[in-house]
Amino acid sequence: MIAVWFSLVILCWVLFFVLEGFDFGVGLLGPIAGRDDHERGAIVRTVGPFWDGNEVWLVAAIGVTFAAFPDWYAALLSGLYLPMVGLLLLLAVRGVALEFRGKGDGERWRRRCDAALTAASAGIVLLWGAVLGVLTHGLALGQDGQVTGTGLGRSTAPLLTWPALVGAAAALFAALLIGAMFLTLRTTGPVHLRAQRLGIVLATGGAVGLGATGFATGSRLVLVAAILCVGIAMLARTGQELLAFAGTALGVAGTVVAVFTAHGDVVLRSTLDPAWSLTMTGAAATDSALRLLSIVGVVVLPGVLVYQAFSYWVFRRRVASERVPS
């Protein structure tokens, strides 16, 4: 039962990272794939109807984590206090910039919103990547399940470790790639061409980088990722955009699953003493709370997936990025 709920928690996080992943990527790519105000407007419109619904997956993910594993939620958020606050504030700036861009007046307003959007998206991607990196490594949990320390360094020190830095770099790469694939899929004209070229370059570069890392470390997971990158590059080159995007989404999903299941039934590893790690059973809520959630998960979640899919279907047409001659 607890394992089922753990899978559901992971599913929510996977959906968040995949769906918001391309939102962040699109935000990042604004100045790269869009040359002028008009093209950047087209880029923002590719995620306009979706980002809000996508962001609710974070609400669902953190809510389900809280509901099913209150101890995990408590240790993770209070242990990574400042990075989490930073993420929330950047998410606030990102969402507001996205939504306000088209409502204001004048190019200067839109330029400011674009700058805020790109900067916030970059910050979010780097921070989430670092947090996921920290998750693979663990936190300095004491015997009482708390991260100890003093001052600002208590919750920021884990970000200055190798796993966090690798995580941040990987997330930046993944967001750019999935963002480029999403833009390729959703646009026409010059933005489409630029996004496609960028996607091919990124996937090829990723294949080379991951391949080299895979051979050097002997990690099968990294080699699989490298092969996936080769496939994505080939699909993008032959114009099979939906498949290329799906492949990228698969890669992101696989990575998130790998991070969350890296230590078996240990949900949060203690770097001080393995015995102080937080396990799935140790962090779980009571049976009655889990039963309640099961009903909701079985009844409500499929409905959510259906109407979200419906919204993607309604807005299935591409956004034109070429100027209509007047």
Binding site: E55, M84, L88, D144, L293
Partner: protein
Amino acid sequence: MDVLDLTRLQFAVVTIYHYFFVPLSISLAGAAAGLQLTWMRTGQEKYLHLTKFVGKLLIVTFAVGVVTGLVQEFQFGLGWSNFARFYGDVFGPTLAIEGMLAFFLEATFLALWYFGWDRLPRKLHAATIVIVAVGTVLSAFIILAANSFMQNPVAYSLDPVTGRARLDSFGELLLNKVNLAAFPHTLAGACMVGGSLLLGIAIWRRRSDAGFAPLARLGAWMTVTGGALTALTGDHLGKVITEVQPMKMAAAESLYETTTGAPFSIFAIGDISGGKPFFSIELPWLLSILAKGSPGAEVQGIDDLQAQYAAQFGPGSYVPMIPVAFWTFRLMIGIGMLAMAAAALYLWTTRKGRELDESRRWSRLFLRFLPLIPLLPTAANSLGWIFTETARQPWLAFGISRVADGISPGLTSGEVLASLLAFTAVYGIVAVVWLRLVRHLSRQPLAPPPVEAAAEQTAVPVY
């Protein structure tokens, strides 16, 4: 300030700020749905323009509500992890269910509505905004159930092994009598906020765009109706609170001695915490009526309750900050009534198509004041929440968990201070930008310019 006070302050800042936008989202969604249905029934273009205008206000407001609401969901783990551990069984599922049941509905269907004008069949399109409106109400009901647990813990038992709260019945948690009283009160207050915003904008724009005229009356009606319902539901909520948290109502009146036929003071000068104020205007029997519904009823005083709680829960102070409770309670009522009176006055002076005579001085003053009317219910709302939450002290969940026990154990004051400053700065900037955007949107002509650029090409489907 120590870590505890700073963390409390931070929670107060982000929560009050979030609540500037929530009531607006609830009432603007309802107003947009109502206007669109009116347009479909009457076929009059003016309602379509107003629907789209309210929709723009809604979408920028909703965006701020979403990003600040996200913070709320993380707060319990960030600053209050011991509370999250203790209360996780009750609070976690409630938050998760709110997200999955209501929040997804709101976010997905609001986007479908806003971007779907020419993509969805007419009736389906109208249904999407109705779904959004229902979603906001559902959201409020579930979240208020979580808050009501903190005022009046029900539907739980304490686990003898872990010492934590365990949820016994979700249905009972939702039907907490505090929730059943607080939910309509909150909705009525929300109606006032949205209504007064529409009234304020319409008055501001009435000269340059005649299309805003129906909006002024709609806004005024929403404010007056919302005001009357706020008073009625508030009266009922007061009686429920007297029953479950007698200390809160005693603090609201700074009533120290248990009194039969207790009066209600409208205004007081001097020491209200402990001694006798040297000047106060009192209405006889009113507190007894407010608290128990009968002029001769006995209302428990602070001293008696303190003695009773000390015997029940052990030594310590169970008295909240009296001046805060006393004044927030009064100001909430007074400011709310002022907003309602102003809207009623507007309706009366403009009845049967009359117009305010601007050659008269008071009319000019009144018209100059009306654009500021949205500030009043907003202030009343915030004061109401400050009253509800501070007069609950020292408890987190009344009678079972104290504020000092809920804080994250490892938290350092440097972290909280840094985050408090960051939240204040970013939220401040967002508020300024939101205000400027609302002003900008309100300045646009209601009827759209004849040619709008096609946003999406129709020729190339993606999937």
